[in-house]
């Protein structure tokens, strides 16, 4: 199995873990989230701080998954108030140490700038973790010559915003969110285009931005709820897409998607 395939599988596993915590099917309040992900990796020594734990490819893949999922790792904490344990923060920091943030020049290609924004979001949320003071990543804004407000080429722009979907979270302010706030129409166009192309992973990432705008009280040119239902029926297959879908549903309704389908107890 190639590195990429192993990292993708580990990222799916971590996304499933985060999703279970978000839905409340895991004891998110009592147990850690990221540290057990590293402990349960094939070949792990069971102690994320132990240097030898990096010897196994499974442990490396688990750490890479933390870097890939990034800011979404904090989703249960951000959306439902579930505690983010110090051991989880240490595990995220360990992932940054194993896979350091690459240096980005201001004129780096768009993909590198997008990754820099995602790393910034993770570092921001890690820096806010209470009781943890070992952040290995500076939470300063990336030095990029990005013009995220130029939506002339809305097709390309909306794909880039989809890649920046982990930043669509209520607690993160910054230039990316400001750009989204002023671009409800390009985001809606991009979402419609993705649904028509049946590119549901991209569609649900754009839906996250629109759900955040609705959460912020911004008027939208389309109704996001029917799109949510449509994607849930046709495109919510993979764990990472399912996590994006759950975040969008939570931002729109204040509840996770399963909360609407769970049977309620009949009155006595």
């Amino acid at each position: 199995m190639s590195s990429r395939a192993a990292y993708a599988a580990a990222a799916d596993e971590l996304a499933s873990r985060v999703l279970r915590a978000l839905r409340g099917t895991e004891d998110a309040g009592d147990t850690a989230l990221v540290a057990p992900h590293l402990d349960s990796a094939p070949g792990a020594s069971g102690a994320p701080d132990f240097p030898d734990s990096l010897d196994s490819p499974g442990s490396l893949a688990a750490l890479a998954a933390v870097r890939v999922i990034g800011a979404d790792t904090f989703t249960p904490h951000v959306l439902t108030g579930a505690p983010f344990h110090a051991s989880d923060a240490a595990a995220v920091a360990r992932a940054f140490e194993a896979f350091p943030v690459p240096g980005h020049s201001p004129s780096a290609p768009p993909d590198e700038r997008t990754a820099a924004w995602r790393d910034w979001a993770t570092a921001q949320l890690l820096a806010r973790t209470r009781g943890y003071a070992g952040n290995p990543v500076p939470a300063t804004l990336p030095e990029t010559r990005d013009d995220l407000t130029d939506t002339t080429d809305w097709q390309r722009w909306s794909v880039r915003m989809a890649q920046l979907a982990p930043l669509a979270t209520p607690v993160l302010e910054g230039p990316v969110r400001d750009a989204a706030r002023d671009a409800a129409l390009p985001l809606s166009r991009g979402l419609t285009r993705s649904v028509l192309r049946r590119d549901f992973p991209t569609a649900v990432r754009l839906l996250r931005w629109l759900a955040l705008l609705r959460h912020d009280g911004v008027a939208l040119p389309l109704e996001p709820e029917p799109v949510l239902d449509h994607i849930r029926l046709l495109g919510g297959a993979g764990p990472r897409t399912a996590l994006d879908l759950a975040v969008a549903a939570h931002l729109l309704t204040g509840r996770t998607e399963d909360a609407r389908t769970q049977p309620t107890e009949a009155p006595a």
Binding site: R4, Y7, A8, A11, L54, L60, V68, A98, A115, L234
Partner: protein, 61 residues
């Protein structure tokens, strides 16, 4: 006496590239219409090919 330290690389050189590509996934290619049972597509095609020909108008009438 000189001591020799062995430095072990933390991750393979391909690791950061793989992480970068997973973080910045491009949009998917346009896909065809969804089938209720994709595994049955070959069976449906075989049925189409093996179906009997259209009946011809009988001659001499």
């Amino acid at each position: 006496m000189l001591t020799q330290e062995t430095l072990r690389p933390l991750a393979s050189p391909a690791g950061p590239d793989a992480i970068g590509s997973l973080m910045v996934e491009p949009e998917a290619a346009v896909s065809g219409a969804p089938l209720p049972a994709p595994e049955a597509a070959g069976f449906l095609l075989a049925l189409l090919l093996l179906s009997p020909k259209e009946p011809k108008e009988p001659k001499g009438k």
